[in-house]
Assembly symmetry: C2
DNA sequence: CGTGGTATATACGGCGACGGATATACCGGA
DNA sequence: TCCGGTATATCCGTCGCCGTATATACCACG
């Protein structure tokens, strides 16, 4: 009986590939790379065979045949079971429908921002804004190029999503910097209390 | 010598707390909970003591004293070392300055969207939009309430950030739904090719 | 004839959590 | 007087992955 294993998103990618057609692991890897899915899904190709074995054990996929061309290693071709198809649907539906709490590095940084002295924090925020600006431009150009070649936008929604996130974050940072300035946060006691002392501490023992 | 261990963000939170003042682990936990840092940082309180031990071993923090009140368990009070202070600065600076690639569930879902039949995908996107709308309202109200009580906005930037993300995502989804409709994606062969067949597959062997 | 890239798969050591169980004692309320 | 919550900490099994090394063979190129 298939316990729900939804930790590794590589498994979902495998389900979707096998939903298209039966395939052997190595081909899955190259297909995923070719479609740049690593940009949107955290994929460790070293885990591919392990993940596939687990999915077989869970009854989500099954090996259809094992063929050998010449003296190359055997290829095991897998296909989706109906349990696998159901799992794919449910899993995917969950990802789309349910806004999940996602932790980002930047949010963690922001929520500890007061531990940096104001001037440094401001400088770092400005740099981030600039970096995102660059990344955005690059992505935009790449996206337009591919769209220009006629690939349907359905296959590029994730890139559009990334772009919209970058733009939103840039706006947020600009707005934040503006407020820090306009409202004089850098001079507030709230922010300065911790950044006056001479700042020294004990050394660890050797 | 301190290897860089930046995997668990709980360690960063500990550094920041000890930057404010020496503290014992249990107090760190309650302080973090009280300030709702779990909302922005992925914190497993079960790992707190383990993480602290590792940080001591790395020379980032040091135990300052061990006290006992009555017959309660001993409390070990820790403080920051100067290596710890430096690590805190660097780590925090990195989080703020460097836009890191972050993988979100939604992006993974989007990049596999074509594996769902158009009607279902649209329905799910609408539901997500609605859910985010609700969450946004709730967060907005909570934030305004706290701001109204006079807590400086410096300590709430992460909440504002979350809000701005929700709004951006909502706009993105609305825009996407609009385009799907206006551009007739649901009737495109690209999207329908996989969703015609009777859809059955082999069962796994008992 | 060698060299490097592609095709195809296996194996495994190690690490960093995760998270639940365990232990004791204080304290306020019903 | 008992209960449940809070205060304070330890321990450890399990899990999932990460990442890299390993192995063989085909093929194109110079």
């Amino acid at each position: 009986m298939a316990k729900k294993r939804r930790s590794n998103p590589l498994a979902l990618a495998v389900l979707v590939l096998l939903f298209e057609r039966p395939m052997h692991p190595y081909e899955m890897a190259t297909t995923l790379k070719h479609r740049h899915k690593q940009d949107s899904i955290k994929i460790r190709f070293g885990s591919l065979y392990t993940v596939i074995d687990a999915m077989v054990a869970d009854g989500l996929i099954a090996s259809r045949e094992t063929v050998r061309e010449g003296k190359r290693p055997e290829r095991t071709v897998y296909e989706l079971t109906s349990a696998g198809r159901a799992e794919m649907r449910e899993w995917l539906a969950e990802l789309i429908e349910q806004p999940a709490k996602e932790y980002t590095d930047f949010e963690a940084g922001l929520c500890l921002l007061a531990a940096l002295p104001p001037a440094e924090a401001i400088e770092l925020l400005k740099r981030r804004e600039a970096r995102i600006g660059e990344a955005r431009r690059t992505s935009r150009e790449g996206l337009d190029r591919v769209l220009g070649q006629g690939l349907p936008p359905l296959y590029l929604v994730e890139a559009e999503y990334r772009l919209s996130r970058m733009e939103a974050e840039r706006r947020f940072i600009r707005d934040l910097l503006w407020r820090i300035d306009a409202e004089g946060w850098a001079n507030s006691p709230a922010w300065n209390a911790l950044h006056r002392a001479p700042e020294k501490g004990p050394e660890p023992e050797g």
